[in-house]
Symmetry: C2
């Protein structure tokens, strides 16, 4: 298995563990990687032999500590590049994910650390996701999904947890829902979870699905 292929599989497993829970199913991986389920089965056996994942046939797959460390290394490089592309090159936060995804696999440890230093060791990427530190440690999770916020309470948006869907991010930008924005929940529809949000002067509603990607920290 080539390094590139291993990295693609491990990253996707991590993303799906967070999105759909662990263990991750073969079919989910096949869908996201756009390969056949048969190919995934085959690859998971090999990744398992390499000690990167725990794989139980017909059940699913999860990362081992070794696999997780590998992914954290890539995540650090990915998010550092996002910061550079966004802050220094002026590429919109909606677009940086894909570009960083290409660069991360071809970045040496030396370049990664020099880049971190150049950027002032940022703690989060343009989407508000934490950047693993030099030793690949992450801070305690602090934000909460906006659905947990009480109506009438002010809060700050800290993170958008779907970084891949650039159309979603453009949509949110149009609503003023971006990391750092001060907002207030006006109403939560008990029927289907649609949330009405005041951002700046404008009041807009978002579906429960979109809301699930918005993390906030209540104002004190």
């Amino acid at each position: 298995m080539s390094r590139q292929t291993i990295e693609e599989y491990l990253e996707t497993i991590k993303t799906l563990e967070e999105m759909e829970g662990s263990p991750v199913r073969t079919s989910s991986l096949a869908r996201v990687l756009t390969v056949s389920p048969a190919s995934v089965s085959e690859m998971l056996q090999r990744l398992s032999e390499k000690g990167m994942v725990r794989y139980t046939p017909y059940s699913g797959v999860s990362l081992t500590e070794k696999g997780l460390q590998q992914v954290l290394k890539l995540t650090r490089r990915h998010r550092l590049w996002e910061v550079f592309l966004n802050r220094h090159l002026g590429i919109g936060w909606e677009e940086v994910y894909d570009e960083a995804c290409n660069l991360e696999h071809n970045t040496s440890g030396m370049v990664a650390e020099k880049l971190a230093n150049y950027l002032g060791n940022p703690a989060v990427c343009p989407h508000g996701s934490p950047i693993p530190d030099e030793n690949l440690r992450l801070p305690e999770k602090s934000g909460t999904p906006i659905a947990n916020l009480e109506t009438g309470k002010k809060a700050k948006i800290t993170r958008i947890t779907n970084e891949i869907n650039s159309e979603l991010l453009h949509y949110l930008t149009g609503l003023g829902i971006v990391p750092g924005a001060e907002i207030e929940v006006i109403e939560k529809a008990s029927f289907d979870g649609t949330i009405t949000i005041k951002a700046g002067e404008s009041i807009k509603a978002v579906s429960a699905e979109v809301a699930s990607f918005i993390e906030v920290e209540p104002a004190n």
Copy 2:
């Protein structure tokens, strides 16, 4: 043929056309790419079918206009990254080649142009090699190999044409022979072309082979 593989072959053909003349021989490619001559033969046939090269069996290979444009695009990206790595991240000019070589293949046109703008549209890389402009045009060649410089004449080093060999570059750095340095040729041995150079206060000799990589522009 994967994009990555095509790019490796085309770049190497271009480098060898400059170093050893055109057409490039199968054996040269095999040596530089560290694959067997048989593999090269096979690949050249495929590149030829794609219209990237002109290939005459038993004779050699050269780039078509299409292949050349592809290489110029990569060269632009490569050298822009070198400038960034050297000037902004502080990575030595001796080391930037390899790092840039990894990044260049995973850089979109958008990132390349934003990067060029961020860097102030530099004309040359840290080794003094010209950076193709946005339309992939290169300036007229202006420097001359140091062997062509008359004894006693002052000149400025404009370029080191071997960017890959980091040991060579470290050696030259130790001698003060770096792009931008003011130097003077003290003596040229007619026997084997060894050249004695004054750089700053120090006077050092370099072999004809090393000298062949040093380009200068005579002081006016």
